[in-house]
């Protein structure tokens, strides 16, 4: 998961990494003078995406009024599809130089890439390659520390000393938390070679979450900020609302096929509501997971049709269809027509089950999409009606 800057900094602080004092303020909260660190401040909108400065989400404040004004301007904005629900107000770091330090998984090289530069505060891609020092090491403490030391040795003076110290300490956080990316930019260095993390971009591995207590605790406390990760941890499958105003609820399996379907729907000018990799193999003969998914889709206030797209390699479509119809009956609030496109193992049985329940079955995606469009145009043919009329 892509940690919000505030959460990344709190986590770093727990591990003894110096960060500027700051506090998190949510959209509905009033700003209390006493809760703030000493000024002057910097007000930073919290979203899990880069480019916040360019999007106007990072602003300097000298007075309480400035903070209030910036908060009003920033909170509630949507940047890169993510709503800004909180700001971090922190003390500005003064009289320091900006450097750069990052650790990231480099899949092609098969190791951890360490990147260091005596210049920071800008995109690392925009720096001259001569200023960027980088090397790959295995994911082991001794090897990474040696790598940090070699890179820091190329940077003279206090900056080199500070980067060496920061690198050694962040190595432990990167390995300990099983991070995929840990970027400190800028890493402020003062004249006495002390340093402080000006920004913190951290992506952690959801697959390792089960053995990472500190991250689990963070998720427990800040669940609302990480709905996708919480959901995956709790339910064992992936669900993402890709457009709160979407009109087509998707019941799909397979990450690649589901992403492709969303792309193709959008290319046709249609508005999918959600991404879903339901993992039909994980249903285990129970409706629980399907009921959960249908309830979430029913929360989409503009959802007007449910499109099911399943390619069954191993899954038995007859069994899946029986579960689907039973699940639909348990979610009466989803009052929309249902279009099913199924291919693969057990199709004849699926056809019988769906026909009895009054759900049209397509094997061709094109014809399923034609029916989806028809429903969107007319708004007729509620599944509930046809279901109630069936025996």
């Amino acid at each position: 998961m892509y940690l919000l800057e505030h959460d990344a900094k709190e986590l770093l602080a727990q591990h003894g990494i110096p960060v500027p004092p700051g506090c998190l303020i949510g959209a509905d909260e009033t700003i209390h003078r006493l809760a703030l660190p000493p000024g002057p401040w910097i007000v930073k909108g919290q979203i899990g995406a880069g480019g916040r400065g360019k999007a106007g989400l990072v602003r300097k404040a000298a007075t309480l009024q400035d903070i209030t004004d910036h908060a009003n301007a920033i909170l509630g904005n949507t940047v890169k599809g993510r709503r800004v629900n909180a700001i971090r107000v922190e003390r500005q770091v003064e009289a320091a130089e900006e450097t750069y330090l990052a650790f990231l998984i480099d899949p092609a090289a098969g190791g951890v890439r360490v990147i260091m530069s005596a210049q920071g505060g800008v995109d690392i891609e925009n720096l001259s390659p001569a200023l960027v020092h980088s090397e790959v090491a295995p994911p082991e403490r001794a090897a990474l520390e040696a790598c940090v030391q070699r890179l820091a040795a190329a940077i003279p003076g206090t900056k080199g000393r500070a980067l060496r110290d920061a690198g050694e300490r962040l190595t432990q956080v990167f390995l300990g938390q099983e991070a995929l990316l840990l970027e400190i930019n800028p890493l402020f260095v003062k004249t006495d070679a002390s340093w402080i993390a000006g920004d913190a971009k951290m992506i952690t591995d959801d697959n390792a979450l089960v053995r990472q207590p500190a991250l689990q605790e963070l998720l427990g406390q800040r669940a609302a900020a990480y709905p996708e990760t919480v959901l995956k941890l709790k339910h064992g499958f992936d669900y993402v609302v890709v457009d709160p105003d979407g009109e087509i609820g998707l019941l799909t399996t397979g990450a690649g096929l589901s992403m492709m379907l969303i792309d193709e729907l959008r290319a046709l000018g249609l508005k999918p509501y959600n991404f879903l990799d339901v993992r039909t193999g994980g249903l285990r003969g129970e409706t629980t997971r399907l009921v959960q998914v249908l309830r979430w889709i029913a929360e989409g206030h503009k959802v007007r049709v449910l499109l099911i797209n399943i390619f069954a390699g191993i899954t038995d479509l007859g069994e899946f269809s029986r579960l689907l119809i039973a699940a639909l009956a348990k979610v009466p609030q989803l009052r929309v027509p249902v279009v099913a496109r199924l291919v693969g193992n057990g199709l004849p049985a699926a056809r019988e089950v769906l026909q009895t329940a009054g759900v049209a079955l397509h094997t061709d995606l094109g014809s399923a999409l034609a029916e989806v469009r028809k429903h969107l145009a007319t708004g007729n043919g509620l599944w509930e009606k046809s279901h109630n009329s069936s025996p």
């Binding site: 098969g110 295995p138 291919v343």
Partner: protein
């Protein structure tokens, strides 16, 4: 390392975790397809055989008794690294790991392990691989498999099933199908397999099914150029409209900033001479048109 991922009907295969739900089911399905499953590994004592396949307490024992050279590893995500270490130590030379959810730091360690030992690793988060008409290691559905001229590599399972199925319906099958898997750190990447597909006489063209996140597609494009790959390359990339900063189902399918974006992948592939399609329909028609023209 010269990688040859081909297997045939004689390749002796064991299934690690054979007593689990997936292990029992898929050892049978692989056997029915033609794969020579010679043994299973399960630490549970007292099981002599499953589906008529002899079960051993350890990889070492299974390899000693059967001479297996390949393993399909069907164990939990947190047990995967340990199972792979056991397989490599036992002398297995080809490991396919369908398990989803392997921690990335574990995958880095596994990658070093197999490279140092000269072992082929397909996965993790892979539906497996197949030489259609001969044998398969993993879950690839029979309906999507047919022998033919197309080398196929994919990060996604289902999207490749759909592509393979539609092309099979149109009479175009595959030479070798490798599900490289959706994890960021993996055993074999597209780029690793370029030399094999260039040399493979049965492969007339290449289809890669990619998705956002990571740089695998870009590295594949660079390998095509560097090695002056001569065969036609077709590509489909999922996730063009996915939001930044959220892993879309696959751990690897995560974009941040300019990293891993559809635009970057599309540009790199197109520059390397690949034909990149915007939809499944366009891909099927494009590939059919290519082979129709060629067969005239």
């Amino acid at each position: 390392m010269n990688i040859n991922p081909r297997i045939d009907r004689t390749t002796p295969v064991i299934v690690q975790g054979i007593s689990g739900r997936a292990g029992t089911l898929h050892s049978r399905l692989m056997q029915e397809y033609g794969t020579r499953i010679v043994g299973g590994v399960s630490p549970k004592t007292g099981t002599n055989d499953i589906n008529g396949i002899p079960v051993f307490a350890s990889c070492a024992e299974a390899v000693r008794a059967t001479g297996a050279t390949a393993s399909v590893t069907l164990v939990g995500a947190l047990q995967l690294l340990g199972a792979m270490e056991e397989a490599v130590a036992a002398g297995i030379k080809y490991i396919v790991t369908p398990t989803e959810g392997m921690p990335v730091h574990d995958a880095l360690r596994a990658r070093r392990l197999v490279r140092e030992a000269g072992v082929i690793w397909v996965g993790a988060s892979t539906p497996g691989m197949a030489v259609p008409g001969a044998a398969k290691l993993g879950f690839l559905p029979d309906d999507s498999l047919s022998p033919g001229p197309l080398g196929l590599m994919s990060k996604s399972g289902t999207l490749s099933y759909e592509a393979g199925y539609r092309l099979t319906q149109r009479g175009i099958g595959q030479s070798v199908w490798i599900g490289v898997g959706g994890d960021p750190v993996k055993g074999l990447s597209y780029a690793d397999l370029v030399p094999f597909f260039a040399a493979d006489a049965q492969t007339g063209a290449l289809l890669i099914i990619g998705e956002i996140g990571g740089h695998d597609e870009e590295e594949f494009a660079a390998a095509l150029r560097a090695q002056r790959f001569q065969k036609p390359v077709f590509a489909l990339i999922a996730g063009r409209t996915a939001p930044e900063g959220i892993a879309m189902g696959h751990a690897g399918a995560l974009t941040y900033g300019d990293h891993g974006t559809y635009a970057a992948k599309h540009a790199a592939l197109a520059d390397a001479g690949a034909q990149v399609f915007a939809s499944l329909d366009a891909m099927v028609e494009g590939i059919c048109a290519h082979f129709t023209v060629q067969s005239r």
